[in-house]
Amino acid sequence: MDSYETLLSVPPHSINQIEKNKLFKKALFENFLHHYTNCLPYQKLCIKRGWNKGHKTDFNLEEFPYLPVEIFKDMHLTSVSNENLVRTLQSSATSGQIPSTVSLDNATRNRQMKTLIWLLANRLGKDRRPFLVMDVDPKNIKATQHKISARAAAVRGFLTAASSVSYCMHEALDGEIEINLQQLLNALEEAQNSGKKVVIFGYTYVLYIYAAKKLSEKDVKFNLSNATLLHLGGWKKLQSQAVSKESFNKLMNNVFGIKTKNIIDCYGFTEQLGVLYLDGEDGIKRTSMVSEVIVRNPVTLQPCMDGEEGLLEFLTPLPLSYPGSAILTDDVGRIISREKGNDGRQGTAFEILGRRKKSEIRGCGDILSQSMKTIGKKL
């Protein structure tokens, strides 16, 4: 069993911080050695930052060399030979933005799937459950519907944890997506007959704007008190409508009858796919055996005190095909606690507060990149 498998051999939030750190650092260091040996640009960066093969293994996580998340928009870094790469992942990028790109080998894909199922099973229960996906069936997506197909790609991994999958929305004549009530009722009936508790699953904004809000307007309500609602994709699209987590949960509770403790916000990102941060029953996200979080001051880049807001850096020994084991994201958050939660879960408790503010250059010094006469720029 390799050190990563060791981390997966126990439940995600079962071991106290001190014991976890020993195993986690061991796996992280092994992962570091792999990338150090197999990705020469990464090796150069590590040497520059005082890390080499002989580095002490009892290190502080804060000292571990990290990469900014944007580097994957800028460079294609790999730690395996090209012939072993089997898939390329791209992050969703809003118009005009460059998506992040990471390439996967089979070993990384397997780790991703195994980790995802390990984390989901811990939160949803070991038995697979029927997933009612609040989105359009990808089979029915027109080639021009890029947004829907990007969402479909992002949720695909989660569906391997389902006993069955039913899509409950369709595309209306005006191109908007809308709930297919009959389909939803059929799927619920089918699930009820199977005796399994359903999981309502989808993107946060789709669930809110196109599903729950529409159903609420039509005064359609369900009593799914045994169900779980799992949503992902972040809050950015709901920020303009001033939708808080509380108001989101209230609407879901009102429309679907799902208990707040069973509404799970899921955080994760392409560059560390497979590693999920799921709300516990207390609504709090915690790192697991395979992950750790550091909050960094956006000016000094030094670790913040617990409770202070800063940029979130996530560490995991999961990726093998690219050096993505420590990534400084552009998400802002803070650490809530390092103590065991009331629900018995171990791990660093943290919250995400939004995206960092973008700096804006304007004025006479704002020369557009495309106007630059940059000739033969090799780097």
Partner: protein, 444 residues
Amino acid sequence: MNFHILFAQGESKVEQDTLASNLETSDNFPDLINSIKNAQQYLMSLEVDDIINWLDQICLTWSDRNSEVQRKYSNQGINFLIYWFRKKNLKEISDLALRGNRHFLDGFHKVENTNVKLSAQPRGVVSHWISGNVPMLGMLSLIQGIITKNANLVKLPKDNLDIVPSLLASMSKVNIMSKSGDMIEGKKIVESIACIYYSSSDKTALDEMSLNSQVRVAWGGMEAVETIINLPRRFGCEDIVFGPKTSFMVIGSEKLTTIESAKKIAKKASIDASQFEQQGCNAPHTVFVEKGGIVSPKEFAKLLSAEMESTSKRIIRDPDTLPDIGKILTLRARYDMLGEAFYSKGLEWTVLYSDDDIGLADPCYFRTLFVRPISDILEVADFCSHLTQTAGVALNDKRKENFALNVTAKGIDRVPDIGAMTAYEVPWDGIFMIDRLVRWCKIN
């Protein structure tokens, strides 16, 4: 037209850090225009030297380290402004711009070696659209409008609503005795100035301001200046456009013969790169270092990094600055992997080097310099265009003039020594602004 008054009748209407959303709205634009036009009569009654002496007195007041202006704006470049307000500078730039004699502003004077008598009359209302990158730019533009005895209307950017009104309020309190013994009253002078704010997308306000202008002065990025020059205007309206440009440094191998001389250049370069977080069009981003010196381009990058660190402690970043963290960290990581990166522990400064880099770097701002090796300084001419403004140099005199001839032919406007790049000079962007703010009148 609805707009917000920030400064009028000699008084500031905004507090520090006031947000645009909290400003009172006015709809009486004609009254505002009439008030500055009426007050312009007082300004026109003054002699240019009296105006310059008054500005010099302001410079002395603001130089006091305990002054309110120093306290509020020492991180915003107030000392640049103080330098600019000095009598010596103002006399020099106005003489330079006005055919060698600033007194053309006071009446008809004979042009040297001719029988022609000229006078430089103010054009009327000068409208300044100021960009948000360097707040003090608004004042530099405005001062030239005052010296030429025009009425001035300033549209300020939403990020810097209070600086110019606050400085004008301070200027209103400064009075001096004229050469003839009359009192020059600061309040009466600044009554010829109004500062306003409206949204950049408010087409009615943009049109109205433009149509009431005899001169339109536009500072800013391409989109901003193009919007302004495409507004409707009256026949005869003069346009002065200071659009987007970028700048760089060039160091000749003859200046890199000892570590000490290289250090001196690096120190001056670090000062140029640390002003206004490189957001001015005169700020360097790329440093071309000629190969063949005792100090190699890579070694120079390292020396420069030491000076950037030391300068970062002297030129303190404004705490409200929001650096582009993602871009800075990505560049640092990229160059750590593929080139050489030198940087501070935090985000204070970054120096990047690669043997393979060619051409002008895409600016990152916030004290980020790209050091690039070149075989011959004249190669740089290939990178110059109408979008490049300043080439700061460390070259011996002979090479400097030859280099300057080459790069100015390709679009460069200024070739100062490294260390003087960020000084705001006349001409600027190839323009004598003071000259463009007057109408030349002649009698034989």
